[in-house]
């Protein structure tokens, strides 16, 4: 049982944006600012730098070590405030950080990762120097952009509060009316694949923002019950820890057929991570590898699927039902089937996301990316005349607020986040989540010692800050497109343009 050090931050308090500093003393930054021994502690640099790289703490004789993570690097060379120019003894040098070169990959570039960290710390997009909107994967979202009408207005994100980013989750005539103030919620990450601390952090953040997070398929830890109004109970093929009361306490129940990172394969928890606590939650034997079967062995047709939905409704008549599917070629048919089975939310999970262990071969090669699936389903549902009765949520590779906006413009109503939230709490995408004791940063681990590295309140603050930064960016996009509400962006492919591939990614791509 985890006890929080203090009461979970109050909603308003979290939104008030407390800084969520990085947990460790050293940052991984794009630039490295060095001050050598020649420094005479004159403090000129601290005066000129507008970003706060150099600083003399109140009453200190020496300047603090430079905060390289705030430096905008090369872009500063032409500025008047360039500290290197001002230093009377030429003690400052700025170079590219070799560390940054080994961080990230074409999809999650080092700059996207670092920018997410900045957002989690400050609640704002990085000011300059980090590309925070687009990656370098050479396709999909990375080759889509918005075509903004020319405007002289400056968009101050803080003044755009009039722009509506809320999303109703129930489009049908009957059932509970739930509205979330931001068009995204957290995707399923099971207890076992992530630590309880992370689940708590996500649940606290979801509560603060009045949105949702999902239990994933590993059961519903008691610690989450205080946040139950914002926790989705996932019913997955393994049925781990699915019990009547867990279905009954949820406002939103998610039936998971497949997941993007391993479409058609079912979940997989390696034996090492199946600790006694996890095993108890999942009602299994500790130390064994746990496979969720694929698929549901009670579902062989759309009719069977309907029975599943009815079964959930029988237990919990007021709950909204979401169905999580991955993206085969007939995903449009699947979505229509889901609609007729009576679900409220169709959740498409594309292959490029995923946070747990997955065979590498399944990450890229099975089922289509979300960028193709969303327009396909959106158009098909429109043709069938049922588009406005279901909510279409997209996940699997939504990295930034800009990806989210593009997914919505392609036809989704909103998006579901996974990896981005983990990066907010310090994930470096090293991919060691499943080996031995699990994540060295204490994120995707069940190791009792490692998981202590993430205090839930801190994690919640980081996630909340990122949400805030995303909301600001989304509002800015909407404002620049002259839209008042995110609901008006849906399916507006006319606002998108395809940009030519800026950097060919064939050739040598180090994918760490």
């Amino acid at each position: 049982m985890i006890t929080l050090d203090k009461d979970p931050p109050h909603v308003e308090e979290l939104k008030r944006l407390l800084p969520g500093p990085q947990a460790y003393r050293a940052y991984i930054s794009k630039w490295l600012v060095n001050v050598n021994d020649a420094c005479i502690d004159c403090g000129i640099c601290a005066e000129v730098c507008p970003f706060g790289v150099h600083e003399r703490k109140e009453g200190h004789l020496h300047l603090s070590a430079p905060k390289s993570q705030r430096c905008i690097g090369e872009a500063c060379e032409t500025e008047d405030f360039y500290c290197v120019k001002h230093c009377p003894v030429d003690a400052i040098t700025i170079e590219k950080n070799p560390l940054a070169e080994v961080l990230g990959n074409p999809r999650w570039t080092n700059e996207l990762i670092m920018a997410t960290w900045v957002m989690s710390e400050t609640g704002k997009a990085p000011e300059r120097g980090l590309e925070y909107r687009i990656g370098r994967a050479g396709g999909g979202f990375d080759l889509l952009d918005f075509e903004f009408p020319p405007s002289k207005r400056r968009f101050d994100p803080d003044s755009l509060t009039g722009i509506d980013t809320s999303l109703p989750l129930n489009r049908r005539g009957k059932g509970a009316k739930i509205e979330i103030p931001i068009p995204w919620y957290g995707g399923g990450m099971s207890f076992g694949s992530v630590s309880l601390q992370i689940m708590l952090a996500r649940a606290i953040a979801a509560t603060a923002w009045n949105t949702f997070t999902s239990t994933g398929e590993g059961g519903y830890p008691e610690e989450l019950v205080p946040y139950k109004d914002h926790v989705i109970t996932q019913v997955a093929t393994g049925m781990f820890g699915v019990r009547e009361e867990t279905v009954q306490r949820a406002r939103l129940v998610e039936i998971k057929y497949a997941q993007g990172a391993k479409p058609g394969l079912g979940g997989h928890l390696l034996g090492d991570k199946n600790t006694p606590v996890v095993a108890k939650m999942r009602e299994t034997v500790a130390g064994t590898s746990l496979f969720s079967p694929f698929p549901f062995h009670s579902v062989y047709s759309v009719e069977d699927h309907r029975k599943h939905v009815d079964w959930i409704r029988a237990m919990n008549p007021t709950a909204l039902v979401s169905v999580k599917v991955s993206t085969p070629t007939d995903v449009d048919m699947v979505a229509v089937g889901c609609y007729y089975a009576g679900v409220n939310i169709v959740h498409l999970d594309g292959g490029y996301g995923g946070t747990g262990a997955a065979p590498d071969i399944s990450k890229k090669n099975i089922a289509m990316p979300i960028e193709y699936a969303v327009p396909k389903v959106h158009k098909f549902l429109e043709k069938e005349g049922i588009r406005d009765e279901v909510l279409l949520m997209a996940s699997g590779g939504i990295r930034t607020a800009w990806d989210a906006a593009k997914a919505i413009a392609l036809g989704a109503d909103g998006v579901i986040l996974g990896t981005a939230e983990l990066i907010a709490v310090g994930c470096v995408l090293c991919g060691n989540c499943e080996s031995g004791r699990g994540c060295p940063w204490g994120i995707t681990t069940t190791d009792p010692e490692l998981s202590q590295l993430i205090p839930p309140e801190w994690g919640a603050q980081r996630i909340s800050n990122m949400y805030r930064a995303w909301q600001l960016q989304l509002r800015e996009v909407l404002a620049r497109l002259n839209l008042d509400s995110v609901r008006d962006l849906r399916g507006r492919t006319d606002l998108l343009v395809r940009i030519p591939d800026p950097s060919s990614v064939s050739g040598k791509v180090a994918k760490w």
Binding site: P293, H297, A357, L410, R498, V509, A510
Partner: protein, 458 residues
């Protein structure tokens, strides 16, 4: 007859020169020798010196998993990670550094590579990268996902499945041979392999119950007990003396090669026609059909598939070959073996979807033997210092492990599609999503910006 489940005997065969992705650099002028990094690293990269525990030992870079934790926790910023140029510069267009590392890992333990966190590579691309395989969401009752995969068959047939009796072989019909895996090991391209590699590959072919294709020059070195697992690639003019082999392979030349004679002289062996992508034309197919050979071995030299254009041509040609056979309504009378650009497990199902019955593994075998970069060694006709390989059991095990890992990954793909046998995947292009088609459909109504524009609009 007793039923024996096909099983590949995997065992650890550790790499001798493990890939080092990054250099872990400790700035000795800053290091306090405090030992914080020893606790930070879960993988044992950092340690104190045995001889003098006051000081830190050089980091063991090859164990580093690039998690950055030691870097972040070092109290004086003394640690840094830098890309290891030897790694990032290794390989070629087909065998990129990560591909080589994956091969090495697979050869080491025979397991499916599994990692956490999301997909890290490029969005799509050309060649095989522009293809996704399908999956099925709700499946038929026969399907049992990961638990049922032992019931998925990876067997393929080599030889005709004739629709009527065929007496051209001058005797009773020889039924097609069944291979339990859709892999053939090909060391006949482009030169004769060194003895150690030859022995390892042929032994592995036996262990896997498949065939190795070896050049005629190497044939005398193959032991009597292994001859039944060898297909000999003939040089010009050779035709006799290969009765004990599983089969022979002639190389296609326009208007050349007496295939009919070869077929006659070896009625019960596999006869294969090797057709390099550069020499392919439909005449080659006609010639193979005419002579009634068992196999068309469609292949490419590494130089021809080193560029993405090369792979595109390869794929287009393979589709043509398969399509032509289908059009002539003779697809089941001949087996298509495709080799050349097969560098990773995902290429196996994709090549089969494009129309091959089975794939040939060639340069990847040199990757298994840590011959790096594989193409250079072959191109220059020489191998690194420690070759020819002397530890044949090690080499054999590495090949066996790789093939097990690839088979298991094939099972994953088949499982996801709800398919029960790989035979049915052949040429099933409806099971693939091609990037250009998918993109055309999905982004049809989105304006394309002229390339002139600056990278990304602010």
């Amino acid at each position: 007859m007793t039923f024996k489940r096909y099983h590949i005997p995997i065992a650890p065969a550790p790499s001798r020169r493990p890939w080092t992705r990054v250099n872990v650099h400790r700035d000795l002028s800053r290091c306090l020798n405090c030992g914080t990094c020893i606790d930070s690293c879960l993988y044992g990269v950092h340690d104190r010196r045995d001889a003098d525990t006051r000081f830190m030992e050089e980091p063991e870079d090859h164990l580093c998993r690039v998690c950055f934790r030691c870097v972040a926790e070092c109290p004086v910023n003394a640690l840094s990670l830098e890309p290891n140029v030897e790694f990032t510069e290794a390989g070629n267009g087909l065998f990129k550094p990560e591909v080589l590392r994956t091969i090495a890992n697979e050869a080491e333990g025979g397991r499916i590579p599994v990692t956490g966190a999301c997909y890290r590579g490029p969005f799509g691309g050309q060649g095989f990268d522009g293809m996704w395989t399908d999956m099925s969401e709700i499946v038929r009752p026969t399907r049992d996902g990961i638990h049922g995969r032992e019931y998925i068959s990876t067997s393929v047939d080599v030889g005709a499945r004739p629709t009527f009796l065929d007496f051209r072989r001058g005797g009773p019909w020889t039924p097609p041979r069944e291979l339990p895996v859709p892999f053939v090991l090909d060391v006949a391209n482009p030169g004769a392999p060194p003895a150690g590699i030859l022995a390892s590959v042929v032994k592995a072919a036996k262990a896997l119950d498949t065939y190795a294709i070896v050049p005629a020059r190497s044939w005398p070195a193959v032991g009597a007990d292994l001859q039944g697992h060898v297909i000999v690639r003939l040089s010009e003019g050779e035709t006799t003396g290969f009765e004990k082999t599983a089969g022979v392979e002639a190389t296609y030349r326009h208007g050349g090669a007496d295939l009919v004679g070869l077929r006659r002289s070896l009625p019960h062996s596999i006869v294969s026609l090797r057709v390099p992508v550069t020499a392919y034309d439909r005449d080659a197919v006609d010639m193979a059909l005419e002579a009634g050979v068992d196999l068309i071995h469609y292949t490419a030299d590494w130089k021809d598939v080193d560029s993405i254009d090369g792979v595109n041509t390869y794929i287009a040609t393979l589709r043509d070959l398969h399509g032509y056979l289908v059009d002539r309504a003779v697809r089941d009378t001949i087996t298509v073996l495709a080799s050349g650009p097969i560098a990773a497990a995902e290429h196996v199902p994709k090549t089969i979807i494009l129309g091959a019955d089975l794939v040939g593994v060639d340069l990847a075998l040199y990757g298994v033997m840590e011959c790096v970069p594989p193409n250079h060694a072959l191109h220059l006709g020489r191998f690194p210092e420690d070759f020819p390989l002397s530890d044949v059991p090690w080499g054999t095990q590495r090949v066996v492990n790789l093939m097990n890992a690839w088979r298991d990954q094939l099972l994953e793909i088949l499982g996801a599609m709800g398919m029960r046998e790989v035979r049915r995947l052949r040429g099933d292009m409806g099971r693939a999503i091609f990037q250009d088609e998918a993109e055309r459909e999905a982004f049809a109504d989105i304006k394309v910006l002229a390339p002139a524009k600056e990278v990304v609009a602010r």
